[in-house]
C-alpha cells in the first residue's frame, strides 16, 4: 500500500509532553458553535490557553452517542449554516496561525459519506487535519473510511470502551493510530464520570496491548478531574464541560454575549493548569 505518511504532529506533540513529564489536555468543541466566527475565535485561542490537542466536532443532526450538551451544540452550529466544508475551512484558517497543534475531527459518518470519502480525505489532509474520530465506524466497518484515511495520511483514532474486553481490544487497536481514545464510562458524552481507580486500571489494561498514547475522556468536568486523569493517562479529554461554557455565554435568545470567548478560554486555562499539575507521573 502506497500510504502517505501522516503529518507527524501527534508523535511530536506526545513526545514533547513526555519530555515535559506531564499529561496533555485535549479540548473538544463543535465547529460552528454558536456560529462560525466565534467558534473560530475560540479555536484560534485554544493553544495559547493551554490545549495540547484540539478536537473539533463536525456537527450532525443525529448525534446518537452524545448527551444533551453536545447535541445542542450540533444543533446551534447547524442552525447558523455550518457544513462539513466549513469545518475544513476553519481548520485551514487555524493552520495559518498554528502549525504544531494536532487537530482531530470528531463526528459521525453520514456527512462524510455524503461529501464523498476520497474528496473529504484529500481536503482534510490538505487543510491540516491530523486525525479522525468517527463514532459510528467500529473496526467491522474499516473499509469504509479507516483504511482509506490511513492511506491518505490521516490518523484514525479509535474509541476503546469499558465493554471492549481483552479479546476484542486487538481488533479495536489494529488500525488505530495517533492515539487511543479511552471512553471511561458506558454511556453518552457529558453524563457520569469514572472513578480514578477505574481509569487507572483501564489505562494499565490498555498499555498491555499498545504503545500508542492514551487519551481518556467522558465526564471530565474540573481541573482536578483533568489532573487526576492526566496523571495516569497521556492526556485528558474535556468536551461537554467546555461546550457548557459556550452555552452559558448565550443570552435568553441564544445570542452570544460579550465575553463568551474569554469565558471559554479562561476555563480552558484552568483545565490546562490542572494537567500541568500532573507532573509526577508514576
Amino acid at each position: 500500500m502506497s500510504a502517505t505518511p501522516d503529518s507527524g504532529r501527534f508523535s511530536r506533540r506526545f513526545a514533547a509532553l513526555k519530555a515535559e513529564g506531564r499529561g496533555g489536555l485535549i479540548t473538544f468543541i463543535t465547529a460552528g458553535d454558536p456560529n462560525y466566527e466565534i467558534s473560530k475565535e475560540i479555536v484560534l485561542g485554544l493553544p495559547a490557553a493551554g490545549a495540547d490537542v484540539i478536537e473539533l466536532g463536525m456537527p450532525f443532526s443525529d448525534p446518537m452517542a452524545d448527551g444533551p450538551a453536545i447535541q445542542a451544540a450540533s444543533l446551534r452550529a447547524l442552525a447558523t449554516g455550518m457544513k462539513l466544508g466549513k469545518v475544513l475551512q476553519m481548520v485551514r484558517e487555524f493552520r495559518a496561525t498554528d502549525d504544531d497543534t494536532p487537530i482531530v475531527l470528531m463526528g459521525y459518518y453520514n456527512p462524510i459519506y455524503n461529501y464523498g470519502v476520497d474528496k473529504f480525505l484529500a481536503e482534510a489532509r490538505e487543510s491540516g487535519v491530523d486525525g479522525l474520530i468517527i463514532v459510528d465506524l467500529p473496526p467491522e466497518e474499516d473499509v469504509e473510511l479507516c483504511l482509506p484515511a490511513l492511506k491518505a495520511g490521516l490518523n484514525f483514532i479509535r474509541l476503546a470502551t469499558p465493554t471492549t474486553d481483552d479479546h476484542r481490544l486487538p481488533t479495536v487497536l489494529s488500525n488505530t493510530s495517533g492515539f487511543v481514545y479511552y471512553v471511561s464510562v458506558m454511556g453518552i458524552t457529558g453524563t457520569t464520570s469514572a472513578t480514578g481507580d477505574a481509569v487507572k486500571a483501564a489505562v494499565e489494561r490498555l498499555r498491555r496491548h499498545t504503545d500508542l498514547p492514551i487519551g481518556v475522556g467522558f465526564g471530565i468536568k474540573t481541573p482536578e478531574n483533568a489532573r487526576e486523569v492526566a496523571t495516569v493517562a497521556d492526556a485528558a479529554v474535556v468536551g461537554s464541560a467546555i461546550v457548557d461554557r459556550i452555552a452559558g455565554g448565550l443570552d435568553g435568545n441564544g445570542k452570544p454575549e460579550a465575553g463568551l470567548v474569554d469565558g471559554v478560554l479562561d476555563y480552558v486555562r484552568e483545565l490546562a493548569a490542572g494537567v500541568r499539575g500532573s507532573g509526577d507521573k508514576q
Binding site: D62, L84, N110, Y115, P138, E141, T163, M186
Partner: protein, 404 residues
C-alpha cells in the same frame, strides 16, 4: 448489471450487508453487545425449542394464524382485481408489531437480559413491547417523540396501563428518528442488563434480518392460506412501508416467485415534490443512520431531514436496508401515497368492509385503490392489513374537521 440473481432471499452476508446496504455502524460501546445478539440469534435459530416456544405464543397469545380475508365489497367497488387482506390487525394489540416483539423478548430472556427498551412512533410497537414485557414480567422503558405522544394519546395510556415507563423525547424533530436516537443513548449506558427491541427491520445487523425473520410468519401463512383459498399464489402483493417490517414480512417468502409483482407503498405526506413527506426511496439517497446504510431523507450536507406523514408509524426518514437493496435490484416496486389519499382509503375501508384500518395500511390501500380497477378480474392481489385504526380516530377526526 446484467448478472442474473438466483435468489433474492440469501441476504444478508456475514457482515450484515444486503448489497451495499445494511452493516453495523454503531459506537464501540455497543459493538460487543451487537455481536452477542447476533450469536444468541444464531443459536436460537439452531435450537428447535426456541421456535416451539415462539409458535406456542403466536398461537395462544397473539392469535395466529391471522385470517386471509377476501374483501368482497371492496373488490366489487373497484371492479377489477380480487382483493385479499392479510389480517394482521386482528393480532393481539392490533398490529403486526407483536410478531417481532414476541420473538425478540424470547431472545432477550435467553440472553439473560433483565430490562427492555424500545422506540415507538405510532405507539403500536411501544404497546406491543409493553405487552410482552408485562407477560414476562420485565421492566420496560419506551422512548417516544413528544410530537407522537400528542397525536397517539390512546397508545401512550395503553403503554402506561401495561406497566411501561414512557419517556418523552424532545430532541431533534421530536418524532420516531429522535426516539430511536434516545433509545440508542439509553442502550449505550445500560449495555449490561438491557435488550433493545427495535421495532422495524432496520438498525445494525442482525436486527434487519432478525426482525424480517420474525415478521415472515405473515408471508408464510399467506402462501398457505392463498393456496387453500384459490389453489394458487397471488399475482401481486402490496404493503405500506415505514421502516419496512410488515412489508418485508409479507414479501420475503415470495421474493423468489418472480412472477409475483411486489409493491411497497411509502408515505408521500403532502406530496413527494414537497419537503413534507416520508418517502425515503422515492425522495432520498443512500446514507448511514441508526446502524445501517440505507436510503435516507437528507440535505446536501448529509444532515438527516425531518420526515412528515399523517401516520406516525410511517413518519421516519429512513427505511430498512433490505428494501433499499430490493429497490436497487428492481425486484420490488416502491410507490407512494399522500396523507389525503390515505385518509380517503381509511374511510372507504371502514364503510365498505367494516374494518377501520390503521393510517399506515391505509397508505397501502390508497395505492390498491389506484390500480385495482384496471387489473383483470382474475388478478389476485393481497394487501397486508397490518394494523387497526382505533389509535388513529383522533387524528382522522381532526383531519376531517370533526370534534370528538
Amino acid at each position: 448489471m446484467t448478472q442474473k440473481i438466483n435468489t433474492y432471499r440469501a441476504g444478508p452476508d456475514e457482515q450484515g450487508h444486503f448489497g451495499i446496504f445494511g452493516g453495523r455502524f454503531v459506537a464501540e460501546t455497543l459493538m460487543p453487545l451487537i455481536l452477542e445478539v447476533e450469536k444468541a440469534w444464531d443459536a436460537a435459530q439452531a435450537d428447535p425449542s426456541f421456535d416451539e416456544e415462539l409458535q406456542y405464543y403466536f398461537k395462544h397469545y397473539v392469535g395466529r394464524p391471522s385470517p386471509l380475508y377476501f374483501a368482497k365489497r371492496l373488490t366489487e367497488h373497484f371492479g377489477g382485481a380480487k382483493i385479499y387482506f392479510k389480517r394482521d390487525e386482528l393480532n393481539h394489540t392490533g398490529a403486526h408489531k407483536i410478531n417481532n416483539c414476541m420473538g425478540q423478548i424470547l431472545l432477550a430472556r435467553r440472553m439473560g437480559k433483565t430490562r427492555i427498551i424500545a422506540e415507538t412512533g405510532a405507539g403500536q410497537h411501544g404497546v406491543a413491547t409493553a405487552t410482552v414485557c408485562a407477560l414476562f414480567n420485565l421492566p420496560c422503558t419506551i422512548y417516544m417523540g413528544s410530537k407522537d405522544i400528542e397525536r397517539q394519546a390512546p397508545n401512550v395510556f395503553r403503554m402506561k396501563l401495561l406497566g411501561a415507563e414512557v419517556k418523552s423525547v424532545t430532541s431533534g424533530s421530536n418524532s420516531l428518528k429522535d426516539a430511536m436516537n434516545e433509545a440508542l443513548r439509553d442502550w449505550v449506558a445500560n449495555v449490561e442488563d438491557t435488550f433493545y427491541i427495535i421495532g422495524t427491520a432496520a438498525g445494525p445487523h442482525p436486527y434487519p434480518a432478525m426482525v424480517r425473520d420474525f415478521q415472515s410468519v405473515i408471508g408464510r401463512e399467506t402462501r398457505e392460506q392463498m393456496m387453500e383459498a384459490e389453489g394458487r399464489l397471488p399475482d401481486s402483493l402490496v404493503a405500506c412501508i415505514g421502516g419496512g417490517s410488515n412489508a418485508i414480512g409479507l414479501f420475503h417468502p415470495f421474493l423468489d416467485d418472480t412472477d409475483i409483482k411486489i409493491i411497497g407503498v411509502e408515505a408521500a405526506g403532502l406530496g413527494v415534490d414537497t419537503d413534507k413527506h416520508a418517502a425515503s426511496l422515492t425522495g432520498g439517497r443512500p446514507g448511514v443512520l441508526h446502524g445501517n446504510r440505507t436510503y435516507l431523507l437528507q440535505d446536501d450536507d448529509g444532515q438527516i431531514l425531518e420526515a412528515h406523514s399523517i401516520s406516525a408509524g410511517l413518519d421516519y426518514p429512513g427505511i430498512g436496508p433490505e428494501h433499499s437493496w430490493l429497490y436497487e435490484s428492481g425486484r420490488v416496486e416502491y410507490v407512494s401515497a399522500t396523507d389525503k389519499e390515505a385518509l380517503e382509503a381509511f374511510q372507504l375501508c371502514s364503510r365498505t368492509e367494516g374494518i377501520i384500518p390503521a393510517l399506515e395500511p391505509s397508505h397501502a390501500l390508497a395505492y390498491v385503490s389506484k390500480i385495482a380497477g384496471d387489473l383483470p378480474k382474475d388478478h389476485i392481489l393481497c394487501m397486508n392489513m397490518c394494523g387497526r385504526g382505533d389509535k388513529d380516530i383522533f387524528t382522522v377526526a381532526e383531519a376531517l374537521g370533526v370534534k370528538i
